[in-house]
C-alpha cells in the first residue's frame, strides 16, 4: 500500500509553475530516488510535499490522509521527516540542542531516541556540546538527519545529502541512508549523484522540466540506454 502518493501535482513559486502533473509513489519502507538534470524541479517536489511552495493543483496523500494545505508542524506530525539541502542545522545551537529542536512537537525530549541517534552517529555524541555551525559539512549532514530522525518518521525525505561532501564521505553517506532504510524507514532521495543513487534505491523517477519522464526500478533505469545517454552521461 502506498505510504506517500503524489498525483498530478502542479506547483511552483509565486506565479511561476515548476511542476506539471507530477506523479510519485513511495510504499511502506521503500527507498525511492528522484534524479534528473538541474532545474528539473526535484527539490521542488519535496518542498511541495511539505507545503512550502505555491500549490496549483493535484493531490498529496500520506497514509491515506490528504495533507495538502497542512502547516509544516502538522505534516511532521503525520510522520514525514525532511532534511533540506542547505542550511539544515541551527548553527548557533549546540548539537544536542539541534536534536532537541527535532523533537519540538513532543512534550518531552525522548531520551531513548536521542540515544539511538547517538549510537547511529557517534560523532554527534562526542560533539554534543559543540555549536553545530563549527562542524564539518559531513557532520552537519549527519546532525540534520539525526534531527529529522528524532520523531522516528515513516518517511524521510533527503535533499542532496551528498552535496558538498568530500568523495570519500559520499559512500559513507549512502551507507548510512541504507542503514536507516534497513531499519524500516521509507526514503525519498533527491540526488545529483544519480548513478550511485539509482544503484542503491528500490525505484527511481527521472524528472525533466517538472514532469515525470521515466519511472522504473533503479537497476532498470541504470540499464536503460536512453536514460544513460540523456541523464547519466553515457
Amino acid at each position: 500500500m502506498a505510504l506517500l502518493e503524489v498525483a498530478d501535482l502542479d506547483a511552483g513559486y509565486g506565479d511561476l509553475q515548476i511542476l506539471e502533473g507530477v506523479d510519485l509513489i513511495v510504499d511502506d519502507g521503500e527507498y525511492v530516488t528522484i534524479v534528473g538534470p538541474n532545474g528539473a524541479g526535484k527539490s521542488t517536489v519535496m518542498k511541495s510535499i511539505f507545503g512550502l511552495t505555491a500549490y496549483m493543483g493535484g493531490a498529496v496523500e500520506f497514509d491515506d490522509e490528504g495533507i495538502h494545505g497542512y502547516r509544516p508542524e502538522d505534516i511532521i506530525r503525520t510522520g514525514i521527516g525532511y532534511v533540506p539541502q542547505n542550511d539544515n542545522v541551527f548553527p548557533s545551537l549546540s548539537v544536542k540542542e539541534n536534536l532537541e529542536m527535532g523533537a519540538y512537537i513532543l512534550d518531552e525530549v525522548p531520551e531513548d531516541r536521542m540515544r539511538r541517534i547517538y549510537d547511529r552517529f557517534p560523532i554527534l555524541e562526542e560533539r554534543k556540546s559543540q555549536k553545530a555551525g563549527t562542524m564539518s559539512g559531513g557532520q552537519q549532514q549527519m546532525l540534520a538527519m539525526g534531527r529529522a530522525l528524532m520523531l522516528e518518521p515513516d518517511l524521510l525525505m533527503l535533499d542532496e545529502p551528498s552535496a558538498g561532501l568530500a568523495p570519500d564521505l559520499v559512500d559513507d553517506m549512502f551507507d548510512r541512508i541504507d542503514e536507516i532504510n534497513d531499519d524500516g524507514t521509507a526514503i525519498l532521495l533527491v540526488e545529483q549523484n544519480a548513478k550511485e543513487a539509482l544503484r542503491r534505491c528500490d525505484r527511481g523517477y527521472v524528472l525533466v522540466q517538472g514532469q515525470n519522464r521515466y519511472e522504473d526500478s533503479g537497476d532498470a533505469l541504470l540499464a536503460d540506454d536512453q536514460v544513460r545517454q540523456d541523464f547519466l552521461g553515457g
Binding site: L93, E97, Y104
Partner: protein, 368 residues
Amino acid sequence: MSTGSGQGRFSNVTAQDVVGGLLLLGIAVLILDLIRLVVTGGLPLGRLWAYVWNGIVDSLYIGLAAIGLSMTYSILRFANFSHGDLVTTGAFSGWTAAYLVGGLGVAELSSRLLLRADGGAQPGSVGMDVLSAPLAIVVGLIVAAIITIGVALAIDRLVYKRLRDAGGIPLLIASVGVALALRYLIAFFYTTETRGVVASAPQPEAPGFLPMETINLHEATLVISALTLILGIHLLLQYTKLGKSMRAMSDNKDLALITGIPTERVIFATWVIGSGLAGVAGYLIVLDRGQITINLGWFLLLLIFAAVILGGIGSIYGALAGSLVIGLTINLSLVWIPADMNEIAAFTLMILVLIFKPDGLFGGVETA
C-alpha cells in the same frame, strides 16, 4: 601580470586595519591620559568612579531596551524604529499606575491619571520614592511591562503581522510611522510637557565595602531590577524550550518552520519579552532621572541602536556588551568633553568600530 609583487610589503594592509590600528592607538592614548589625570590629581578618583558607575547604570537600561530591539531584529528580521516609543509607553503607563496607587487619597484623580499634566500632585507630596511608596513603585513596574506588551502585540496584529513577508525595508518604514503615531498618541493625553514625577531618591549611608558614601536607592532599584531581568533572559534563552526555539528561529526561520517550531508562537513570545523589557526600561529610567518626557524613548533609540549594532546586530549578548561600551563611553568621555556633547563620543566610537569590524564586536559569534 605582476602587479601583486610590485605593491611592496604593505600590500596586505587594508583600510580596515589602518582604522583598527588608529582606534586602538587612540584608546591607548586616552587610557594613558586617564592615568596621568588620576596621578596628577587632575581627576579625583571619586569623580572617575562616579563616571564609571553612571556608565554602568546607563548601560543597564540601554541594555534592557537593546535586548528587545536585538530580538525583534533577529527573529522578525527588521529594525524596529518604534522600539524607543515602546520605552516611552512603559514610562508613561507605569508611572500612571504608580500615581494611581501611590496618590490614592492624596491627590486629584485627574492629576494622577494624566501624570501631573495639570501641574498638580507634586511628587514630593505624593511621596513618590521607593521608601515612601514601595507598593506603588512595584505596581508601576509591573503595569509598565504589561501595558507595553499589550501595545506591542496590538501593533504587531494591526501592522507588522500583515507585512510579515514583505521584507525588512517596508517593515522598517512602517515602524517609523508606528513610532510617530505612538508618541503623539501619548502626547495627546499626557501633553508634551517635561515634568518631574519622582521624588528625590532616598540616599542612606553606604556600607563600608562599597566605594561610595551613600547609596541612591532609585539607582540601586534600577541596577538590581535590570540585572535580575538580564539574568532571567539568559536562563530563558539557554535552558528553556521556548528560549532554544527562539535562538533556533533567529538562526534560520525556514528551518525552524520545517522542524515544526510554531513560528507565530515564537514571534508572540518575542514581542512579549522584548516589549516587556522595553517598558520596564522606560519606567526605570524615569525612576532614576526623576523626569518624564514623550521624547524619552525616541532620544534613547539612537543609543540603543548603537549598542545593538556595536555588539553585532541580532546577538543578544552582543547587544548587552555593546550597551556596556556605549554606557561607559558616554560617561567616561566627560573626562575630556562637555556633557552636552558626550553622545558624539558614543557615535564616533560606533562608526570607527564598524569600519574596523563591520559585523560588530561580536559579529559572527551569533549567540541568540
